[in-house]
């Protein structure tokens, strides 16, 4: 049962050739067979089966929702009422959500089936999915390689066909980079486009929920169901969500920019550079304008990102105190040791590193030199990016400087790891929507993504052009 899009699945469902129950069984079987990937932290088998029965009835009556037949996995930082959610952390290992995130509610309202929760880096902090308290996720295309992160389980699950679509969250590239490593489509919507209500916070001014899928069409469909104003998240925009239209085969010439420095960056794999340049030439031949622009702020983006996200993380993670919910240390004897020991035992090393850095950049005496300066630099990067996008429709780059690397490759210097995000952080610093499209295949056998960033709130142009690009390549 391999399908390209939900439209094909739904056709079969309507014609009675397929049922949701059969789909669920098929996926449960595949999940079972692929346990070695460590993509799922928990499978909601009972839930999925009973919902499938109900939705099959609705299909017969002709009253099913837009997402009937869609099997979805959710990253383990997205709340689903009555189900565990742990952010892949020991500190939340036994936590059960009291409510559903807005995205989950909206997907369920359209009759999607949620089949389980997916492994990720602890509190979404990481670029390899090796910082999960519950073990790394293996890349389905080569089990000796990482999936990327932090939404590694989501990327792996879609790539291995364990669900049609998966939700991830993206703070600096956590949807797009694993999508690139696993050869699937990953979309980060505009900041504020999708409600963050029920998303376990990492860095609140950067985090966005978005989909992984095997086609741009499915990613767009699920994005449109999730997007839009929400009374539970005041940062979710009131702007209307424009519908994408993939039937209109527009040959409208686009204006596309690429950052010259991105393509000459020494960390960029030579083959990925060549393939990106080839794609640029192809687009030019088709009549699109593709031009290199200079962007002297390139080197500052990852530092700005780390200062601001660790600051926000140190505040957001202050809530894990071992008192109201989460793990409490058995060794705690008083209030202070309850906080300190519960947090020390509950958080992993990378989370601690980031909390410590965030505490430092916010601390008195250093605030202006780090946090304050990074906020100013963020404005510069945002305004300069907007200037490029005033003249061009999209900005193109590779998603990641290389393909998926070896699992367990000990990373001694965290700053090397942080450069993973070099091409993706711009979209989070500025809030713009961006996709990674699985357009590349390296001679080492692994896929790599092409990254497109659009204007804020213009997912429509971004997605329609992405679909065109995918269908022509």
């Amino acid at each position: 049962m391999a399908f390209n899009t939900l439209t094909e699945v739904q056709e079969q469902l309507r014609e009675g050739k397929l049922t949701c129950s059969a789909l669920v069984e098929e996926h449960l079987k595949r999940i079972e067979e692929n346990q070695h990937l460590n993509a799922f932290l928990e499978v909601f088998a009972h839930d999925a089966r009973s919902r499938a029965t109900v939705i099959d009835q609705k299909i017969k009556r002709g009253s099913s929702g837009k997402l009937a037949g869609m099997i979805i996995g959710i990253k383990d930082n997205i709340c689903f009422k009555g189900h565990k959610v742990s952010a892949s952390s020991r500190i939340l290992e036994d936590f059960t959500s009291l409510y559903s995130s807005t995205v989950v509610d909206r997907l369920l309202n359209e009759d999607a089936i949620i089949i389980g929760r997916l492994n990720c880096d602890e509190f979404a902090m990481g670029s390899a999915n090796e910082f999960s308290a519950f073990g790394p996720v293996k890349n389905p295309l080569d089990n000796t390689k990482v999936t990327g992160g932090s939404s590694g389980g989501s990327a792996a699950a879609v790539a291995a066909g364990l669900c049609h679509v998966a939700l991830g969250s993206d703070t600096g590239g956590s949807i797009r980079q694993p999508a690139s490593f696993c050869g699937v489509v990953g979309l980060k919507p505009t900041y504020g486009r999708v409600s963050r209500h029920g998303l376990i916070a990492f860095a609140s001014s950067f985090d966005q929920i978005g989909p992984f899928a095997t086609s741009v069409e499915d990613a767009a469909l699920i994005y449109e169901v999730m997007a839009g104003a929400d009374e539970y998240d005041s940062t979710a925009s009131q702007r209307e969500v424009e519908k994408t239209d993939f039937s209109a085969t527009s040959d409208k010439p686009m204006r596309i920019a690429f950052l010259k420095d991105a393509l000459t960056d020494p960390s960029l794999d030579a083959e990925i550079r060549e393939r990106t340049q080839e794609l640029i030439s192809q687009l030019q031949e088709k009549g699109h304008t593709v031009e290199g622009v200079s962007f002297p702020w390139m080197d500052y983006m990852v530092p700005v990102y780390y200062i601001l996200t660790t600051a926000e993380a140190s505040s957001n993670l202050a809530r894990y105190d071992g008192i109201h919910y989460g793990q409490r240390s058995e060794k705690a004897t008083d209030l202070e040791s309850t906080y300190k020991l519960s947090r020390t035992e509950g958080f992993g090393d990378e989370v601690k590193r980031r909390i410590l850095l965030g505490t430092f950049v916010l601390s008195s005496g250093y605030y202006d030199a780090y946090y304050g300066k990074a906020q100013k630099a963020r404005r510069v990067v945002k305004e300069e990016t907007e200037k490029i996008l005033a003249d061009y429709d999209l900005i193109l780059s590779p998603t990641s400087p290389h393909t998926a690397f070896e699992l367990g490759k000990k990373q001694l210097d965290p700053t090397v790891m942080y450069l993973e995000d070099i091409f993706t952080v711009q979209a989070n610093i500025c809030g713009n929507p961006a996709v990674s499209l699985p357009l590349g295949k390296h001679s080492n056998g692994m896929p790599f993504g092409i990254h497109l960033m659009g204007r804020a709130w213009d997912e429509k142009t971004l997605l329609e052009f992405s679909a065109q690009l995918m269908n022509n390549n």
Binding site: Y306, T333, K340, R353, L356, F360, K376, V380, D413
Partner: protein, 99 residues
Amino acid sequence: MKLTKEQVEKLAHLARLEFTEEQKESMLNDMDNILGFVEKINGLNLEGIDPLIYMSDEVNVLRKDEVKQETSKDDALKNAPSKDTDYFKVPKIINRGEE
């Protein structure tokens, strides 16, 4: 800048974390690396630029101020590591007359 071990200890206390001596050394090393890396932003001329504080340009959306009970007491206590029927339980905070 380079941090001292005392600074790492102070930050750890502020963040309510504890580290062994060995971990302190490794955190110190990592922090020095990371700070050396993020200090690149000192190369930017940011004179006269306002910090970007809010990502959103949305205006307030007002609603009626209605009382709603969305979480019951039982639910709120469900995930507590230690509780009785009405309260979260914490270790003893004040020790009376045992000084």
